[in-house]
Symmetry: C2
Subunit: 367 residues, 2 copies
């Protein structure tokens, strides 16, 4: 009994929205089984529609005794307006999965569903972390350098320098856990690396980050993301969103051209067959399923957004992200770091004030 | 003699900065010879340093009698600060090539050199087109739909809705000539296609474009660029620059992964050899050399910026862009369209004003 209690207490309970995304509910249930295989102390609270799930649970026997199913009946469709979803979706699988985090019945929740709906629900139900003004969407952009954390990927179209500064702080905590870096390097997205480049907001944020104590290395450009020049790229939600979608669109275009190139003639077709396995292996490093799992960072709870088109293996990776973030207490890390940086920065300002006053006294122009 | 005069009068004189870009001066001189082969009525005024050019002219005999070389001695380095270049580069090859346009000695100028320097010089020497508040950088982003015109690619980090509206107008004229479209479709870059999405500037610009008479189809997203959903994508210079660099970076990354994939083992190596020619052919459609040639649109003269890394074939394409823009009088087109749209829009505003006044009278709340 003691042993059983011990195992139970070590269990990481994650709530899953079984109904979100193009491949739901199969990708969710199968994804859960894949994640459980990797982390046997996972336990799932799965919210969804039994009729649509059918006998999926039985198809993945590893899940047995490692999940609880909660019938919700309704679910949020992918094209539902977030505000409507908030109003009408109180009993939806997505909402119930978030509620479970609020009620401490789960340490994190994962959904492949409607991004806007998930975001407004998470903010409403969980609220913000103390001191954090705006939650952001943070995720990993794949590259050959192990990936780069980027935020905001689209939660806040308009930001000020305080928002971007807090994004840097939260991105730092996220990268420490997800990229497993001790002191992640941080870059601010801009149109050039020289200090004179950019808008007012980049210049103001640069100055804040310079004296922050974070491992801030300065401005980075669009191509630095795919080069993996830094561990964390900070930008507003407008820029982050168009960068992410441009990268995805470009990747899709090139893959399409490559496939067409192999179809041109007999020689290229045979070449394609011979190289297929090896190419597949190489492209794995930038497979969106591998880096799947974005977080609504800054809300008072762990909410992970899986890509709407994620397959089972991708959903399993999103669960792994939620698992790691919960295991390593990301939100406690953010609160702690926030306190330290606030302290350091106010100390820094005091010093600047002191120097100013001293100089003024010496020059005889003030007290 | 008459025939000779006739040919001379039909000549399109383009000034070239022979010293700009990573492959100068060879790419410039060789590029000129390739362009001349396509358009025999081209004539070049080539500005540069004879010592560095050496015997390049003799290597491309087609150029004979179709160019004039002007020794300039100095040139602008790629890392020179634009303001310094403006101050110290009065006798540089870049500046002299722009001066030639100002003095009507050439109808257009082409340079692969320092973008910032070229831009500030072009603005200073040529000034803006009447009514145009801010010149922009416009270019073609490659896709399988014949390419999409995009602006601003980086001239103005911060813009207002009037700037973006004028970018749309100028992009329309550019697409008519370069994409050869009668009524180019225009999209405004945003984080989603719904009307509620985006920042204040997108909403304000949307409203201006909706009533503009341009073929405006609404918002487009990052991935719509590579899909070629519209002919022209309008955005501010911050967003345009990061989108362009992200697309370039992503393309480079995937090409690198593909090359690595072919190197993995014997089978993939043979496959690569068999497919090489066909793949090369397929990727031509998105080769940056093919779509080379961005314009500083909105200045009172035609200044074409070739990619800094352009090879001879790429530089030739930039000359072709300058040739087409000059032949079809882009700047006259812009002035004409500007007048028409201004007229239509002020007419539209009059109608709105009239309706307001009438309603007010009916409701008894005004004159």
């Amino acid at each position: 009994m003691n042993l059983f209690n011990n195992i139970m207490s070590q269990r990481i309970v994650i709530s899953l929205d079984a109904m979100g995304g193009a491949n739901a509910p199969r990708a969710v249930i199968e994804g859960a089984s894949i994640a459980l295989n990797k982390n046997p102390n996972l336990y799932f609270k799965i919210f969804g529609n039994q009729q649509l799930i059918g006998n999926l649970f039985e198809q993945f026997p590893i899940l047995k005794e490692n999940y609880e199913f909660i019938e919700t009946g309704t679910y949020i469709s992918d094209d539902e307006q977030p505000i409507k979803a908030l109003k009408n979706g109180v009993n939806s699988s997505m909402r119930k999965a978030i509620d479970a985090v609020k009620e401490n019945a789960a340490v994190a929740c994962v959904s492949s569903g409607n991004t806007g709906a998930l975001m407004v629900m998470a903010k409403l139900v969980l609220g913000e972390l103390p001191g954090i003004k705006r939650p952001a969407i943070v995720g990993v952009v794949p590259n050959l350098n192990g990936g780069t954390v980027m935020l905001d990927l689209g939660a806040n179209a308009e930001c000020d320098e305080t928002n971007l500064f807090q994004f840097a702080l939260m991105g730092d905590c996220f990268a420490k856990i997800i990229l497993d870096k001790k002191s992640p390097t941080i870059g601010l997205l801009n149109v050039g690396v020289e200090q004179i480049k950019g808008r007012e907001i980049e210049k103001k944020t640069y100055n804040l980050l310079k004296k922050s104590g974070l491992n801030f290395i300065g401005y980075v450009e669009g191509h630095d993301l795919t080069k993996g020049v830094v561990d964390v790229v900070v930008t507003d939600g407008f820029s982050g969103n168009i960068v992410l979608k441009t990268a995805e669109g470009t990747a899709r275009l090139l893959m399409q051209i490559m496939k067409q190139g192999f179809q041109n003639n007999l020689s290229s077709k045979i070449g394609g067959l011979l190289a297929k396995k090896s190419l597949k292996e190489s492209f794995k490093s930038v497979d969106p399923n591998v880096n799947n799992g974005a977080m609504f960072i800054g809300v008072n709870g762990i909410v992970v957004k899986s890509h709407g088109g994620a397959e089972a293996i991708g959903f399993a990776n999103a669960i792994n992200v939620a698992y790691d973030l919960a295991q390593r207490n990301i939100n406690q890390e953010i609160i702690k770091e926030f306190d330290i940086l606030q302290g350091e920065m106010s100390l820094g300002q005091n010093i600047v004030e002191k120097i100013k006053k001293t100089s003024a006294r010496i020059l005889g122009i003030g007290s």
